[in-house]
């Protein structure tokens, strides 16, 4: 375990995904002014990365562009060989047992389709049934269930190239799940979707995890995906984990504050109550901040007893701010 990965208690032997001191470097050749030959350089995409994921967890895997998210997923699925450390998924070494592992995992990309462009959705699904050798009964049951849940019924005979992005995405998700994978990797699944499609997709994923205990590992830039789905977040920056823990813990770690917005009946001097400080005043409205982990109740009570209050509200810290803070601190 690396000191940077401040994680929950280790999950023990039940861990489905096990990553230890993982490292991947790429050799690149770079042109250098004044030299005839390009210079060989080693670029580190992932280093000292360790974490475990237990069966049934929903984990958000987030980080800025180029942090190493996709590289990690490629190593977890076996299409990229690590240059150091080790990976186990369901007891298999992904790069050595890639084909065997492929039967037990599902992968969804927001920006690529696993479906066949020129085939109707139904034909793509049929091809997948043969590819994964899904027993016919199981296949039919799964197909019916996903078609219903993902509302694909009237789209089954449409060629994939004619589907809208949202429909294609739902088709892709069904395609990734037909063979009952133990783990589902989702790489920015909600990218480009409208608000309604996003929330339906999240609902579906939550139901999937609840019903079947499918483990989800989700990379995204949309933190609402994380808030809606994941109990646990791993934040990666510059190839290494800078945070591993609960979403709530991320707030605490970020030293974030909540804000109490007070609308007084009349303009007044800055409110003075213990445990909170005034950040901003605009006419009769004042913004008080207090630590995220403190209770709001005594502060509200104190304000209400000492001032004439018209209205009160509490603002939770935006997770975006917390994470931005985390990235910049790593710099």
């Amino acid at each position: 375990m690396t000191p940077t990965a401040q994680g929950p208690a280790p999950h023990g032997p039940a861990a489905l995904i096990e990553v230890v001191d993982l490292e991947r470097t790429f050799d690149v050749r770079r042109r250098v002014e004044g030299r005839r030959r390009r210079v060989r350089e080693s670029v580190v995409a992932v280093r000292d990365l360790s974490f475990e994921v237990a069966a049934g967890e929903m984990v958000g895997y987030i980080g800025p562009n180029g942090a190493g998210k996709s590289t990690t997923i490629k190593m977890l699925t076996g299409i990229l060989v690590p240059t150091g450390g080790h990976v186990r998924v369901g007891g298999l070494d992904p790069s050595r047992d890639r084909v065997e592992l492929a039967r037990r995992i599902g992968v969804v990309f927001g920006q690529r389709s696993t479906l066949w462009w020129d085939l109707p959705l139904r034909d793509s699904f049929d091809l997948l049934q043969k590819m994964y050798r899904i027993p016919p009964q199981r296949y039919r049951a799964n197909l019916d269930r996903f078609v219903e849940l993902l509302d694909l019924g009237d789209r089954l005979d449409t060629p994939v190239r004619q589907l809208s992005l949202g429909q294609r995405m739902r088709g892709d998700i069904a395609a990734a799940l037909l063979h009952d994978p133990e783990v589902l990797y989702l790489d920015e699944p909600t990218i480009g979707l409208d608000v309604v499609s996003k929330s339906r997709l999240r609902e579906f994923l939550r139901a999937l995890n609840g019903e079947r205990g499918t483990t989800l590992l989700l990379t995204t830039h949309d933190l609402q995906d994380i808030e809606a789905l994941c109990d646990r977040v791993i934040v990666i920056d510059r190839g290494t984990a800078v945070y591993d823990g609960s979403l709530g813990g991320l707030h605490a770690r970020g030293g974030s504050t909540r804000t109490l917005v007070v609308d007084l009946v009349d303009e007044a001097a800055p409110i003075d109550v213990p445990g909170a400080t005034v950040r901003r005043i605009e006419g009769p409205r004042q913004w008080l901040s207090f630590p995220s982990d403190a209770s709001a109740a005594p502060i509200v009570a104190a304000v209400a007893s000492a001032y004439d209050v018209a209205d009160l509200s509490i603002q939770e810290p935006a997770i975006e701010d917390v994470i931005r803070d985390l990235y910049s601190r790593g710099a």
Binding site: F26, K74, V81, V99, E100, I105, F109, R112, L119, Y132
Partner: protein, 265 residues
């Protein structure tokens, strides 16, 4: 059964391009006529060149035209799909699947080849038969052996095209290598000139290279120039190259996933 499904899907996909098929058959036939007259002139000057008589020579021309698309002499077919998917990074999706990449694309290319054989292979053969009275296989065994030989020709050609497409893992684009490989294929397959006419060491070399499997070997089997043990060794020659080259495909693929970035995040 998956691979059969993949092959039949490729067959159907190509069969949607009807106009292209008709135009292609026309082109093959025009070239067949031109080559036939050129060869007839050549064999009038030397009636037993390369051990062929003039009917053999004309038959060779039409077999070449019939095999041109089936073996994808110029490149193309399923391996072009692969090169494109490597370039865009979509090959990652192929790698996530619980099937070998080589077998998958081979199945798809065989489906394509079957379509091309039935259209762009059969039609020129019939035209050659009517217009130039080309020779037909002398026995069912010869015809069967020719069929096996054509399948092997497609496999050898596929493996070479797969290797060419794989260069995209390193070069991002296969087109330069593809053009070069196409030039070798045209020369050494016997498409331009039967390899039996190549002089001395060049002939020996050409008959030992994998491209000989494309046209020369199947044509000689059709013409009945191989029989008995000789026929077996002609087919064994193709099998050997097919096995060696497919093994190379697997090796290159392993190397690619070890060394190379799959494009895109």
């Amino acid at each position: 059964m998956l691979h059969v499904a993949v092959a039949s899907r490729a067959f159907r996909r190509y069969s949607t391009y009807r106009a292209a098929t008709v135009a292609g058959i026309f082109t093959n036939s025009v070239f067949g006529v031109i080559y036939s007259y050129a060869y007839l002139a050549l064999w009038r000057a030397n009636p037993s060149a390369g051990g062929y008589d003039s009917q053999d020579a004309v038959t060779y021309v039409w077999l070449g035209q019939a095999l041109l698309m089936t073996i994808a002499l110029w490149g193309g077919g399923a391996t072009d799909d692969l090169a494109e998917r490597i370039r865009t990074g979509d090959v990652a999706i192929d790698l996530y699947r619980p099937v070998g990449l080589v077998g998958w694309y081979l199945a798809s290319d065989l489906g394509r080849a079957a379509y091309h054989l039935l259209t762009r292979g059969l039609a020129p053969t019939l035209i050659g038969l009517i217009a130039f009275r080309i020779a037909l296989p002398s026995s069912p065994v010869t015809a069967l052996a020719f069929g096996v030989s054509v399948v092997l020709a497609v496999v050898v050609s596929f493996a070479i095209r797969f290797l060419v497409a794989s260069t995209a893992f390193w070069l991002l684009d296969q087109s330069g290598v593809k053009v070069m490989s196409g030039a070798f294929a045209i020369f050494f397959s016997g498409m331009m000139l039967p390899l039996v006419l190549f002089p001395g060491w060049l002939g020996t070399l050409a008959l030992g290279l994998p491209w000989a499997s494309y046209v020369q070997v199947p044509a000689d089997i059709w013409l009945g120039r191989h029989s008995g043990a000789d026929l077996a060794s002609a087919l064994a020659f193709q099998v050997l190259w097919a096995v060696v080259l497919l093994a190379a495909c697997h090796g290159v693929l392993r190397l690619a996933t070890r060394k190379v970035v799959v494009q895109g995040g």
